[in-house]
Amino acid sequence: MSGIDEIRNFVQELLTRQDDRRPLADNDSLLMSGRLQSVDAVEIVLFLEERFGIDFAELGFDREQLDSIDTMAALVQNAGSRS
């Protein structure tokens, strides 16, 4: 399974827990639109740290980076190319 697929599955799971079964595109806004909340952002941070080894304290943190599947995938890619 590729990185973006894993991210998509994880986000889908977060949405399902909240009974949000609306269609989800990779560029859909998640946090800014209110579909996911700060507590979900924490779970996304933990997921990205544990699964992809991202260190936000070092990279700098902006919640916009977690706003869609695409931005998360880009973050993972950038972090991978830096290390």
Partner: protein, 474 residues
């Protein structure tokens, strides 16, 4: 990104049907003919007319209403000039409102200039000590200003100047905080946009509604259709605020005017002075206060966000169905959204990303305490700076003793709420909805005993009152 954010607003959410989908005010922004009409000249005039009528309800001064509506009308018909207007108007109004208070005006302009200078420093030298931790410098600087002011002798010139500066700076502190932390957002905002968010045209409390310039850029309406949708949502929200305000008026007359149920501060004072009100009235007072706080927070937030939407920004509501929250953390998120965001942005995430990274539970608890105890206390202690002026440095800090208990209880509750495994909700209305909602409400009703703005009573007196709710005499 902003395009998608606004477009999503047009898609009706798929609910589960039934009561949860019922809306007193229909989702007008999802009807294509209404959206098309709102884009026409006549439609814009109608929307502005409805908005003016709504604002007239909240603003008793006709001149202020007209001035306000003229600016929003200008933005509606010339959206390309939105940002210059939003930048200039608050400054013009600031000067206009303080022409007869030269010291306040000078202090305000000095604070705004300092804020812009700090923003410039943070973007110019992002790798410097200040650039890496701008918030630490900002909050420390403001704290030192209070300490300095506490050291002046009353009724001297330095006393007057410094306390004016303290009072003015707190009005801008969290706006500047968003500006200096916006430094990493891409593409970078220009200085004018940052300036527009320093106490923006649509109003705010000490908390920036809705956050800083980087956030506003993402939620800005980019096309006439998006603007129409956002403005329809704005007018609807204003109508909702008016309905709630009328209901609140009726509520106060019924419970406090007709049934004579005391306000919590009065019930607490009566207990402290040895003439407690009956047990059932103490409970009624606390429960009513819970709903009254939701009323006032909703009305205030809806009015501000309605104006923000009229300016063309698809901001989320400040209060969104708090009484449907089934967990403590969900209620905290729904009740005062932008304050919660402030705590999360400036205290929770910095602590969460930096400390105890190998201990997941401890990390969550520590970050929660950083936000809900330290951040919450810092916000309120500095917001109520008058206590320092009137009682001195230690007296001002000591006056917060009861609310610290509130902060700690809230932090414990929110920590547990986050650590509990989030799985599928229990089935059925009773176990899945009613009982959790009542449990959440009861928690906030109980801890609100310790949330007092008057700062008149000690922890011991408040604890005795709290215990008396359960027939316990201490």
């Amino acid at each position: 990104m902003a395009d998608e954010v606004v477009t999503q607003a047009q898609i009706p959410a798929k609910g589960r049907g039934g009561v949860s989908d019922f809306r007193l005010i229909p989702r007008l922004e999802t009807y294509p003919r209404i959206v098309a009409f709102a884009q026409s000249t006549l439609g814009k005039i109608v929307l502005l007319g409805l908005f003016t009528a709504g604002m007239r309800y909240f603003l008793p001064d006709l001149n202020v209403t007209l001035r306000f509506v003229f600016v929003f009308g200008f933005i509606t018909f010339l959206p390309d000039l939105r940002w210059p207007v939003l930048t200039l108007c608050p400054l013009v109004f600031l000067v206009q409102n303080n022409l007869h208070h030269p010291l306040v005006l000078t202090a305000s302009l000095l604070v705004v200039a300092t804020g812009m200078f700090l923003y410039w420093c943070a973007t110019r030298w992002p790798k410097s000590r200040f650039g890496r931790r701008p918030l630490v410098f900002l909050l420390t600087g403001y704290s030192l200003l209070i300490v300095l002011a506490c050291g002046t002798r009353p009724h001297t010139r330095p006393y007057l100047v410094l306390w004016t500066l303290v009072g003015t700076a707190i009005a801008y502190l969290w706006f500047i905080a968003y500006a200096v932390t916006d430094r990493s957002s891409m593409p970078r905002n220009d200085a004018g946009r940052e300036l527009a968010t320093f106490r923006p045209l649509w109003g705010s409390t000490g908390v920036p509604f809705p956050k800083g310039a980087a956030y506003l850029r993402r939620i800005e309406a980019k096309t006439p259709e998006q603007l129409a949708v956002v403005q329809l949502k704005g007018v609807k929200l204003l109508a909702w605020a008016i309905l709630l305000s009328l209901l609140q008026h009726f509520w106060f007359r019924l419970f406090h005017g007709f049934l004579h149920i005391p306000m919590p501060a009065a019930a607490l004072a009566a207990s402290v002075h040895g003439t407690p009100v009956p047990w059932h009235l103490r409970w009624a007072s606390q429960i009513l206060a819970f709903f009254e706080l939701i009323f006032s927070m909703s009305i205030l937030g809806h009015e501000i966000i309605a104006c923000c939407r009229m300016a063309g920004f698809n901001a989320l509501r400040n209060t969104y169905r708090p009484l449907s929250a089934t967990t403590l953390i969900e209620f905290f998120n729904r009740f005062y959204y932008y304050y919660k965001e402030l705590l999360v942005d400036f205290f929770y995430f910095p602590a969460f990303l930096r400390y105890f990274k190998k201990h997941r539970r401890l990390r969550t608890v520590f970050a929660t305490f950083a936000a809900v105890v330290f951040g919450n206390a810092f916000y309120h202690i500095t917001r109520d700076w008058q206590f320092f002026r009137d009682r001195g440095l230690w007296g001002g800090l000591a006056s917060y003793q009861v609310e610290i208990v509130y902060c700690v209880m809230l932090a414990i509750g929110l920590s547990i709420s986050q650590l509990r495994k989030r799985g599928a909700r229990a089935k059925g209305f009773l176990r899945g909805h009613l009982l959790p909602v009542c449990g959440v409400g009861l928690f906030y009703v109980l801890i609100s005993v310790f949330e007092t703005d008057t700062r008149t009573f000690t922890v011991a007196q408040t604890v005795r009152y709290f215990a008396s709710l359960f027939f316990i005499r201490l």
